[in-house]
Symmetry: C2
Subunit: 328 residues, 2 copies
């Protein structure tokens, strides 16, 4: 099945650009609605961090070192590398008698404007705490302390990654379709969009067993601490705030976005075919509007979907629209 | 006709993302090769700046104030806002007894790393000279001086924009399909990809009349001063250097790229459907390789198309490929 027309950019009365993609909404029994091909196999990238964090909670590793919900939210985050993120990861590592050098995520300049400026203007390099995945990696190191694995915890056959893979296969209901190496060096297993949306629906309908309790705890951590999951001005943080903590959402590189809707018992997964973040952000807003989880007049809707596009002089030059056939 | 599969991103042995698009190669008689739909109507955005600069040269306005080839290259540029660009525009305006305040392009932070850092770390705001289109606008102001128009030279009915529109319609061989307002506030007329590629072929096969001389002068200015057309590390500059001045190329926002090949007598125009720059850059490299304008072992090819994609620890995580059916 072909990818569906999802998000359009308009200028001068003409469609200038078009984003195709696939999107699936699942409940606990299966697909509720879909656009494009639910069987399309994708790399979830960072959108599946709450799945990768399941063994951290289920194993008792999180409780063994007294992790807070704030830290668990950071374990599920692609954070901006702001001071609150960097310091929380630093303190977390110190609490494990580890240091930044024990991370295996690599360094990049933080997206957070203030921290980026501080480093740039003081001629400092970022360290691994600034990596947007450093919270996930602090979680991996916490699980690793519990499991007694070696230091190279991102190797695919390491006990930490084997545990993450097992959780991924169980909640997606699919054998791994293979893995790629993510930007942060951890393996990222492929699954169908339907499998990913099913997993999000499972997080939205947690049972009372160990897994269900871990799912509920991670979802609550994310929606209670949206500032830890991304950062100021970022889509994940803004959308969870706009929904007043009713939902958990998570972006992934190359145009992936997922959402967990506990009140509705629904999970969403989508991917822009071309990998564009502007498309995945607009599409998740459109689907959250479709499911009436966002207020029609919330400013976040115009920020990511309906707002006019303005140029450097503030003149309106165009707009984003959902494509005919995609919800708006 | 559907957009063609153009550029793919691969990770873990799987195609992760896909860019569709349209691409056309023309000679002076018409379409030579095409992928997708040659009739697809697009906004050329900044890719048509050499067309918008034709009246500046043809009218005698450029010679009246003794514009150099370096300035003409800047009139065709989407520059990085480096010191050389900002200072050249500033001197140009001073020479016209005008100032930065006479520009109508608006301000944005420069892409050039050093200048961006200088402004950021000294708490200075960018001015309109930093706008990537400020060279085009200095050209508009030069033409405006010659034509005696009013100060609001970006209004669609202003003599400067009427002259640009007339040149655009003549070289594309099409009536304007309407216009949008560009990021820099100037009108940007729509045309088919075939019309845009035909125009580039006209630049590649200039006659000996006034228009032909203006075309040759602008193409020579661009390929002689590639550093003025974009900046260090940018695709336009790097590709013109890699082709040792044999070609002129120009990027446009929302996934547009054009090329002028005087030795082959060919013009190229392409657009990534989704507007992605990484796709338009990779696709133009693929087509320039296809036409044997670039050496197979030139580093620019791995930078924009064939090189491995590495993560924050330098680990190879994937690669870009041309889609089956698109030249490689």
């Amino acid at each position: 099945m072909q990818a569906a027309e999802m998000i359009e950019l308009w200028r001068g009365g003409r469609r200038e650009s078009l984003h195709l993609g696939h999107a699936v909404i699942c409940d606990s029994t299966g697909v509720v609605e879909a656009w494009g091909c639910p069987g399309n196999v994708i790399f979830p990238r960072s959108s599946c961090k709450m799945i990768q964090a399941l063994p951290l909670v289920e194993s008792g590793a999180a409780d063994a070192v007294g992790l807070t919900d704030r830290q668990l939210a950071l374990a599920c985050a692609s954070h901006s590398g702001a001071r609150i993120h960097v310091e929380t990861v630093g303190d977390w590592l110190t609490g494990l008698d580890l240091s930044e050098a024990d991370l295996r995520c690599g360094c990049h300049m933080p997206q957070d404007k203030e921290e980026n400026r501080r480093l740039t203007c003081s001629d400092q390099e970022p360290d691994q705490r600034h990596n947007n995945c450093s919270g996930k990696h602090a979680g991996f190191l916490t699980l690793n302390r519990h499991l007694g694995g070696g230091p190279e915890y991102v190797e695919p056959d390491h006990p930490v990654q084997q545990a993450a893979k097992a959780a991924f296969e169980e909640v997606t209901g699919e054998d791994s379709r293979g893995y790629g190496i993510d930007g942060c060096s951890a393996p990222n297993h492929a699954c169908s969009l339907k499998g990913l949306a099913s997993a999000m629906a499972a997080f939205a309908n947690p049972g009372t067993d160990r897994r269900g309790r871990a799912m509920r705890r991670l979802v609550d951590a994310m929606r209670t601490h949206p500032e830890m999951v991304a950062g100021e001005g970022r889509a994940c943080t803004s959308l969870m705030r706009a929904a007043r903590g009713k939902i958990a959402v998570k972006t992934g590189a190359e145009g992936v976005f997922v959402a967990i809707l506990p009140e509705e018992g629904l999970g969403i997964a989508l991917k822009a075919l071309d990998g564009a973040t502007r498309a995945s952000e607009a599409a998740i807003v459109a689907l959250l509007l479709h499911l009436k989880v966002l207020d029609n007049d919330d400013p976040v809707i115009s920020t990511y979907l309906t707002g006019p596009i303005r140029n450097w002089r503030g003149i309106v030059t165009g707009e984003m629209r959902t494509a005919p056939g995609f919800p708006s």
